[in-house]
Symmetry: C2
Subunit: 398 residues, 2 copies
């Protein structure tokens, strides 16, 4: 399967540029024609140089032809050298592809505080910008090249009909898990041959991110290189999509479905993950309050280790809800594991232990917390915390 | 050594009441005369029944004669039954001790959502209220009886001179580590024979808590039973201490020293802890901002696992500072491990790896983050996260 190179006019490839060792470490996404581009980035105040460079391109409203990506080095905390290296990566890629300077975006992921080996990076760019034209539908190789501690490449494709035209969507993501030893967690890319107004595309990506990538938590840390891009090159031939287009919602729903799949895949492939858990909070004073409860539970080490141990430990869940900062009345709280009511009105429902343990032994389950105050809701996709997580994150020595 | 029973007129004891098994599970602190009492409690909205009961006693301004404590059961999330059991524990202890109903406080720690076995609790109270008069200076046994996943009892004593009188302070704490399988983490007690005005004692406990117990973090969770009490019975014969007393600061400093010792001991004895780390944040926009940075670092799983792995991973530290919400300028951030400058102006200081690794291999070290913006400061006492932490918190099955 090839994800990112599926839509018309898109190519993609991965190669080894020798940035650290002989693993794939450089990827390129290329569009034959100018594409609308939209993106969202980490809100961390420490931002990698590529993030800062891409933010400045996007502010100027530039269209896109390509995204050049390297793994094994985040190009973060490298000062002015980092900024000029990020710019050089983008501009040298543009030069090799013979496209405008400002139409190439750049992402890096990997160790921070180590300058990029620019000689190797430039040799890599020379190769990949040539080889990409010799490899049809090689998105799967790109999806491998952006991996860090991911255990498998993560791709997705989808086709929808807009204005009677078949519109293709392709995607790849690399994940959660802080690469050896550092951050640079999430990079996500969607390509589509839909014709989409740029401002509408930015609306779409922000809306979708709030409901997908912003609703996952593996360890509660947030990297300085997180980026999510959508490129739309228009080769499907539909009438330009915008908020007034009759099929706008079809497009947004397809992007949402794509991003949600990728987001869940990130959690499933999180470091040391043995269980995928959806936390649903209902009945909160507000959606924001529901979010506080979901995040307190999803980020609680005590809760996450209890999941790993197959322990239906509702006490840790109600405790985390209690310190979340949300409005809450102990006597009104109901908690469900799957469809089994475990806590009613703040007190345990007796005789359910065997059923609860059966749910805990599943690879995936839903925990619902109903605060029974008002109608605020939020859901979060998260996972357990295992020995393996500690091992992965402790054993690297800088 | 006996801590809590050291000051004049105080007795203490621990026994097995059979609440769960044959381990010590009940403790009593008793003052021969009426004592001023001050306390602070968890801010979790889910509060154990004993916490709610003690809060109501304190609001009425009652003096204290005793505190009855059980481990193995938190008496939390037990509804009306829990409230009446907490009240019964206190009042039955008062009856057995022949002291006023409202002069006995109560604490519970252990599993939540399980009603107390009140028949065993009452038999235990009958025994302990009798045996306490037969055991002189048995504070060490009380310190053992309040333990949960603590690996050792934690006590402290100190003597200061006030008004020319020798004032003794004794203390015990049980710790961080969420008992099998639950919360009920921190219970701390200080006794003193100083004569202290009640309102001044409450000021003192709040001030000291902000600088000690509120500056520790093992796993970022906050229990529903956390409580810290000071009892002062006046038998030292000093003139009543209050904010105007010339020796007030001597007393506050002694209580601060006591609480800081206990707080550090909690971290050192935290679940699976192999390293004790002090995080010092300087140069922040405000003290509150400095606190945000210290807590983001101290609660980051990535940072804590890197400490466990002896990895001087400053990237994870600056990353956590970046998402803490504090004002921060990447180019101004300096980071020190011990006295070794590792990051200067947001960039790595080369050639320090061997020195940094030597610091990481110590059992205790200080990490300083200077934001170089203004003069806001905060320090936090925390620890690493090891396999053992995950093991302790995963292996229990409810």
């Amino acid at each position: 399967m090839s994800g990112i190179s599926t839509p018309r006019g898109f190519g993609a490839l991965g190669i080894n540029a020798g940035i650290k060792n002989d693993a794939l470490d450089m990827a390129l996404i290329y569009s034959e024609v100018e594409a609308s581009i939209a993106a969202v980035f980490t809100t961390n105040k420490i931002k990698g140089a590529p993030v800062k460079y891409c933010m400045s391109l996007l502010e100027r409203g530039e269209t896109a032809r390509a995204i050049i990506i390297n793994s094994k080095n985040a190009n973060a905390c490298n000062g002015e050298q980092g900024n000029s290296d990020a710019k050089r990566m983008a501009e040298f890629t543009a030069e090799c592809l013979r496209v405008p300077d400002t139409s190439v975006y750049v992402c890096s992921t990997g160790v921070i505080g180590v300058p990029l080996p620019m000689d190797k990076v430039e040799r890599g760019i020379k190769s990949i910008t040539r080889e990409i034209f010799e490899c049809e539908d090689c998105g799967a190789i790109a999806a491998k090249a952006i991996m860090t501690t991911d255990t498998r490449p993560k791709e997705f494709t989808k086709t929808v009909v807009i204005d009677g035209k078949r519109v293709k969507i392709g995607a790849m993501v690399k994940g959660v898990g802080m690469i050896e030893p550092n951050m640079a967690t999430m990079l996500a890319y969607i390509t589509t041959d839909a014709n989409v107004d740029r401002a509408a595309l930015q609306d779409c990506i922000e809306d979708v991110t709030a409901k997908t990538f912003n609703r996952i938590s593996v360890d509660g840390d947030q990297s300085c290189n997180d980026s999510f891009f959508i490129m739309a090159n228009g080769l499907a031939g539909n009438k330009e999509l915008n908020l007034q287009h009759k099929d706008w919602q079809i497009f947004v729903d397809a992007i949402h479905e794509t991003a949600l799949y990728l987001a869940k895949e990130l959690v499933r492939d999180g470091e040391g993950v043995t269980k995928f858990v959806e936390i649903v909070v209902k009945g909160a004073e507000s959606n924001a309050d529901a979010g506080l409860v979901a995040r307190a539970i999803g980020n609680s080490l005590l809760v996450k280790t209890s999941w790993f141990g197959n322990d239906p430990n509702w006490g840790r869940i109600i405790d985390a809800a209690g310190y979340s900062g949300a409005e809450l009345v102990e006597e009104k709280v109901d908690i469900f594991y799957g469809s089994i009511e475990c806590v009613k009105g703040g007190m345990v429902v007796a005789g359910k232990l065997a059923e609860l343990e059966a749910i805990m032994r599943q690879d995936e389950f839903v925990i619902t917390i109903d605060l029974n105050i008002s109608d605020g809701e939020y859901n979060l996709y998260t996972c357990d915390c295992s020995y393996e997580y500690v091992k992965i994150n402790a054993e690297y020595t800088t």
